[in-house]
Symmetry: C2
Subunit: 235 residues, 2 copies
DNA sequence: TCCCGAAATCTGATTAACCAAATAAGAGCA
DNA sequence: TGCTCTTATTTGGTTAATCAGATTTCGGGA
């Protein structure tokens, strides 16, 4: 299940139907948090869908914390309330697939935060790893070799140093999506690559000095081009 | 696959082993982006694991954009580079399960952004929905009924109005986790619930007036208690 | 009437079997 | 030798069978 595959998929049409049927069932039967849903086999028959698709749909709702599957017992409604459940299911069904602009916008948001937090919380070990990533990046650039990967690892090292596992997970989720889209849209290559080294070094130094404001600022500079690209794009 | 189940699971130990074996295989065989991995059956035999666990591991790596499965053809390495792949696999394997503090911290970060963006981009329809959620919330609170769900829906309505599908998805992912942990830790109930109405209304008004700075500020006020709780917690 | 417990049933999870498409291999012809 | 078409095999995906454990049922005893 890839980040965008989470939403659109060959089977997503069927699964969306199943999800809405589950919601309807919950409302029709007035099921409450903690109540048990019909078994997978029953729903498979009732909704005229393969048990696999039923399972996958349940997994998705479980991913969003709306259901809870217990091994040899059944699938239960999480204690989150019917009203909230209905609202969230609607949101899930209406979710657009992430567009490139929203990805970039979100990435910038996350990166500014991780830079700030990394400056506040980085351990010496974190700093060493960031330094290593920076050096690997610089070496590649100076040799004129493509350094997209090293660039990525530098940013992920900062994310790790931020000491926030949720942020770290989110970064890992959206970053590869960015990279692949990047190559697709050919947005990257900013002519003079030495600028990249300078900007990276500035971020590293700010984190080393444990200056959160400066780290955020330097990160902002680093994303300036992307930022403009993002906000000059037509809606 | 729930948000935290993404990391730890009954089978995660096995799957982590498989993931690292896949990485080792890629390095040992010097496979490059675009190259084909051995078939699921082969790996199942080679790694002495059920094909289901192999598939699940591949799905996780696919989720992070490192692999790409093509139906009747095979599983391929995404064009993301071996260096980056190694780094990301290490990150994935080392990922801690999200702790409550990091969840709250991330939620605040996201909510401040969505409030700001909602003020900038909200359509009239968005505004109506936010208003509806606010009224539902207020009514519950005034009647002395628990309004956690309506609270949640109000925030999700704002997220929707922010017009950023990635942010929207992230919010949907972490919010339920917050809610359930909230009830578990009993952090919520701020004595006087009318404060909640006041704060929500202030946020709504700022969004209505299309004042992004004010919206962010009001949202910050709303999260003040949580913020303090988050940053006063021992590490 | 109530309670205990064994057996039958039901459950999600796991495993194995099957499918259709895509690729590879090989035979046949020029 | 080189090309084409048929056939066989491999592949991820899908469906069916099986498993172990939890739950329910119901009869027997007090």
């Amino acid at each position: 299940m890839k980040f965008d595959t989470l939403i659109k998929n060959e089977n997503s049409t069927i699964q969306n139907r199943i999800i809405s049927e589950i919601r309807d069932l919950i409302n029709y039967k007035n099921l409450e948090p903690g109540d048990k849903l019909p078994s997978e086999r029953m729903m498979s028959e009732k909704f005229e869908a393969s048990r696999n698709n039923i399972r996958e749909s349940i997994h998705r709702l479980e991913f969003y914390g709306l259901l809870k599957s217990i091994p040899q017992s059944g699938t239960f409604i999480a204690n989150i309330g019917i009203v909230a459940l209905n609202g969230m299911v609607d949101d899930i069904l209406r979710l657009d697939d992430p567009d490139f602009k929203s990805l970039v916008e979100t990435r910038i948001l996350l990166e500014l935060k991780t830079a700030r937090l990394a400056a506040l919380r980085r351990t010496n070990e974190d700093l060493d790893q960031i330094k290593g990533a920076l050096e690997a990046y610089s070496e590649k650039v100076l040799n004129g070799v493509d350094a997209v990967q090293e660039d990525l690892l530098f940013h992920l090292a900062i994310a790790k140093a931020a000491g926030n596992s949720t942020l770290n997970t989110l970064m890992l989720m959206i970053t590869p999506e960015i990279i692949t889209n990047f190559e697709k849209y050919h947005v990257c290559d900013t002519g003079n690559s030495n600028v990249g080294i300078k900007e990276h070094t500035a971020i590293y130094k700010a984190i080393k000095e444990q200056n959160p404001k400066k780290a955020k600022e330097k990160m902002k500079v680093h994303f300036k081009t992307l930022y403009q690209y993002c906000y000059n794009l037509k809606d």
